[in-house]
Assembly symmetry: D2
Homo-oligomer: 408 residues x 4
């Protein structure tokens, strides 16, 4: 349904042409300094009309915080917020309405609900993500203040134009050879994960942090735009400084929650964490992340093919994952298809559309990541604090209990 | 935590060396004929010791149904079940216990809980999946009886040995050319999805339905086994005859629930649905699934790049997705790593392990898919039945309401 | 937290002095005709300033529907709504702020969250119930249209002034005699439950349907008001025409869900269903509701001590229950108490307060009842529809299966 | 459904005549010493056959712990447990099976599920509570170790035989006089709440801690037994040493969760907390609990009409509440009623039944209370720990922030 999260929880409402879209964010820790600008910054990174790569619809998407904050401090109570829709009228009828848009949600919404919004796919509109981005900005502010958590997403491919530094895709040709998979975690990629900042990402409208590749992406997107077509891409996200121990076995492993969160973003088709599909080709002896004492004296792993999660639980290394976004379904190019009643015909979508969604998807990915991490942090807090109130465990064999007797 | 599902819900318990592992399955529709053999069949496909490709541990994994069934008919009440562990003693201490196994859950469990099971990763043991497989077998029986739903998973790759008929992986080399992506949905792959049966899958111990590839996979797995190493792979799953309208926007899109379910299976690192990562390279004009009237008169799509889901909701086409499993972390080969206290050293895991998990993962994937589909079906039933009790909607423009006035 | 319900779900936000209070209502059946007036009617019954018995604060509480509805028909998507707060500034500091109000939530909120709203008890404000009343009005409209369900609450006592027709309270004096408990279900009470309408309830500002008692209640409330004091009371609610089979054993028995819902209303201290506390004094031989064929040919019970629920599941008889509301904690009369820092002193609350909340509580009780019933109806729909798709059960003994073979 | 709790969560299974009844308890804090006897003690207080006041069925109800514990220490993973049913065969057919038992769940289960267990009301059997009692014993052990929480329930009435020291029931006669309600919180009652122990409760088989009243209760129960009838009663429960700040506004106020938990116990009809129904008659000026500095220097309230909860949140005072249990529906006395098909007739239940359930209900009430408190404690831990990681709040007016700057 329209609620996500257990202890930190966002519920959203709104279609394209209703009065507003908005959200209720429940479970925000009390005592957090929070200004509208904290939320607006990410909303503005998501809004349409940022560059000639996105839809020319120019919506300001100004957030109105309603509750849960006084004198710039969160109260711990639900934060209501909304963003007005600039075009609030149900859409006028058009001949294109006779057609369910191919690969869009028009037909499935009508089948599911028996009725549908005049705007077509109802809640499948990207405007729904406004509430998520707002919730994510709030979660992220907490995580940054309390733990210095850094969450940075960036565009790693557009069509076949790929960022050089990333986990390589799996082999295209069947082979029995295992020797050439070492580049999965190139030093350049490891460095990128450790250093990339949101500022660097935003230097280019594509949100690809490699200028040369970014320029190629621009051309690719503009080519799609000019041909009234669209193109897909991938977004990679890294989360640094995550506390150890987050993620709930069995069904709520952290990667499972992240996958759930990411695949709930419109137009997503794929998710991989750590070495991902490519890692399936690497033998265990190479893929295992050996433990070491690091230069700073901390216990950790030498490599990080696992992507910061082992057994569904964070191990303190960087979490990184990649999401595949399909080419947008709404294109102005004429398409041979059928009307709701089965009559064959030609549909050319009206309106102005994004030829490629990945630049605008970046803050949405960051938001969903923030929500998942904060929710899991709260759940682990509950357990850890409870266990810490018990006397030390003295009756277990030493390899079964953490030193300092359960005071973890 | 250890519960999955909203209206059809499985809760599991059990570690490797405790008395038993088991599950409570709540929300099974009443009136379903159910015998222990319905559950046992899938448990036996999951159990160790099936062939020389898996761990030689020979556990029978006989299920004991406890409740919720009388005279072979489900009562609609919770079905309790358990499988005894054959080795129920906490493990003896061994020098290997000084080492957290690399890329395993030993270290993260200890950090998360402050204590851990003697067997190491506790609930991250594959034995935990017994409860899921049992729940899935029950869900599947209902889906088959009520709708003829067919769920078939199979091994699509081991290391770099790949089934020829499948969605191709994305390009390895950056390119601005879009013309060579047509093979994403080859006719062979479409045919495979439409026809593959569980019997065909089980003809070969690898559970790869292409004999020539299967033989190569055997060699690859045995090579890993002989070198005390391990290798990963992928499992592809198809779901046929799914009712239209399943999946709950916004956060519980069907692909999001499937991704959550699949990434909760131990050792998984990646998930893609429909055209997946490869589809991100295909322009919208080619990737869109145009609507047609099919030969049997039904309304559907000409292609199925979407993988049977649009806007998070099933459209009646086949659902297909792929999951990446990493190489098992537990290998007998000596590994340079560190003890819990940071002391560097060499670990060689004792015991007998699977060199490759994908053959045994097949029924687990089918189980999780069954659970997700039945749960979503029940939720959609609730809405559909409720809407069907209202008078027909007569005041909406015709393109906003399903013919026969909301009686969907 | 701030969400209630499983498939029909309301999430609320808002304190006394923030920008607005509001709610997101998720899971409303699609295709339901819904106008703002459907919601406003109940909000207006809840708002302050309706008569001289309530607080003189005169707030209009006009609802603004934001989403989920087009052309007056629900889309099945979340309905966002809000009511602006007329006084949106954080409260000015006052010396009374040094005191936590006795029996109010000021102190516990501060302890719980570490910070608190300037208005005191934050979300414990009765303004929070606006979102519930709106959600309830929507649920009720569906229930009425689809099943003719009627939900009517009324004031059954104010202080010691009691409606003559109701379940008697239990004995005040210990006794071994069982013979005088027959009046628990007086014919007058049974008649009242069967016939009471919302129009009759609203004829008097007390919302007590017995004019003579209502007049005494007015005097009692005005006496409290004049002495700057307050008084409690009880609200009784009846639900007619409820479908059979609602309520989920074990933990979500319908009476448990109703109790949860009712005790979540501010100022409530007690709940009883059917014969309630009084029924504990009646021997089973008298208390059991024998089955009969009724005049209209339907199967039902002769008496209804059970209050329409048996084993946690509705049996089609009228559901009735009673809720106790304590005397409002906020009184203008001086109280000897202590400041937050422990300094003893005298507090006289400023502002204008309700001397008795029960007249305004009536629509809140109806709302929470509606939400519970619709939520349980949707859950039972899910199961019933699923079971109905299976072939008839023919292998069970006849007393274990419903005639017409499971087609229930 | 069959799961209760958010972070501390119990899921149960089992009917009367299946193989076993059991539970999975998820979310137990790790590192807690736990032996089977900790659970068995409470199960034995619940089991039938304890005295001549209960059913003569003599079931040992020996618990078998399956998982989640090693070397007597909880691992933080789910604790599976089961108790074998001694009579595991589906019941033989009997002529009594033609009759749904009046005020029992036979008829509603059949209507709800379309099929039902041979034993009649399926999950409405009191055997289902075994899993709850086990879960409660585990929760209670944690609460006692970590906070010294004490939870004691006792029988406060049987029929009209009442414990002298308790909250008085409300007036039976309508009156405008407010002066005689002072006895609501008699010094004897306050003393009883502060001092009652489980040992004192168990001194008498009725579990009423007032010997003289207990003897009268015995006579009353035996009178019911001899006349093949039954009688109801009430159980009162006190919870001492509860941490401040538990309970989640808005919908999950602690009293709402307790009411939900208690009304989910079979045969319950009523719940009141603190002054309850009687308190509705007391003016606010008398009913308010003024704040004071106590003898031990702690901040608290002078009286405790609130029952330890204000605004849904614990204030550190004793929590006390009362639950009404109806007279058991199953009686051996002949009853005029109707068969499933409507045929009128006479039913005399076979088997051996409890004439009064309240003595055996005592540990069930304690168990449900323990589960609620631990679950809420974990949720509050999550928030409190999260807030404690933020820098002190310095920008709020002093009356809006807890001294020591949010470090609560």
């Amino acid at each position: 349904m329209s609620t996500f999260g257990t202890l930190f929880r966002v519920t959203t409402y709104g279609e394209s042409h209703c009065a507003s879209v908005g959200a209720i964010i429940d479970g925000c820790p009390p005592g957090l300094p929070l200004e509208p600008q904290d939320v607006q910054t990410q909303l503005s990174r998501r809004r349409p009309g940022q560059s000639n790569l996105t839809t020319p619809r120019d919506e300001k998407d100004l957030v109105q915080l309603q509750s849960g904050i006084e004198h710039g401090i969160t109260l711990g109570t639900p934060i209501g917020l909304l963003v007005k829709n600039e075009d609030q009228r149900p859409r006028d009828y058009s001949e294109t309405d006779l057609y369910p848009r191919p690969s869009h949600a028009d037909w499935t919404y009508l089948e599911k609900y028996g009725v549908k919004a005049s705007s077509g796919g109802g809640r499948s509109s990207a405007r729904e993500t406004i509430g998520r981005v707002a919730a994510g900005a709030i979660a992220e502010k907490y995580l940054k203040q309390a733990f210095g958590v850094e969450i940075v997403a960036f565009v790693s491919s557009v069509g076949k134009i790929k960022l050089p530094s990333q986990v390589s895709p799996p082999s295209q040709v069947s082979s029995e050879d295992d020797d050439v998979v070492e580049d999965v975690l190139s030093p350049e990629f490891v460095h990128l994960l450790k250093t990339i900042t949101r500022e660097e990402v935003d230097k280019h409208p594509t949100r690809c942090p490699h200028p040369e590749t970014a320029e190629k992406m621009v051309k690719r997107i503009l080519r799609a735009k000019e041909s009234q077509d669209s193109i897909g891409g991938t977004v990679t996200c890294v989360i640094r400084n995550v506390p150890v121990g987050l993620g709930e076995p069995v069904f709520d492993k952290l990667e499972a929650k992240l996958a759930h969160a990411m695949l709930s973003i419109p137009a997503t088709k794929a998710f991989e964490i750590g070495s991902g599909f490519r890692g399936t080709e690497v033998p265990g002896s190479k893929h295992n992340d050996a433990f070491i004492i690091k230069e700073d004296g901390s216990f950790g792993t030498k490599t990080n093919w696992s992507g910061g999660i082992q057994g569904g639980i964070t191990n303190g290394e960087d979490i990184y994952f990649r999401i595949g976004f399909k080419s947008p379904a709404t294109i102005s190019q004429a398409q041979e298809t059928a009307q709701y009643d089965g009559t064959p015909g030609t549909l050319a979508a009206r309106g102005r559309h994004d030829p490629c969604v990945v630049p605008r998807a970046v803050p949405i990915v960051e938001a969903m990541a923030s929500i998942v991490i904060l929710d899991q942090l709260l759940i682990q807090n509950a357990r850890k604090t409870a266990a810490g109130l018990l006397p030390p465990v003295t009756t277990l064999p030493p390899t079964m209990v953490k030193p300092a007797a359960g005071k973890f």
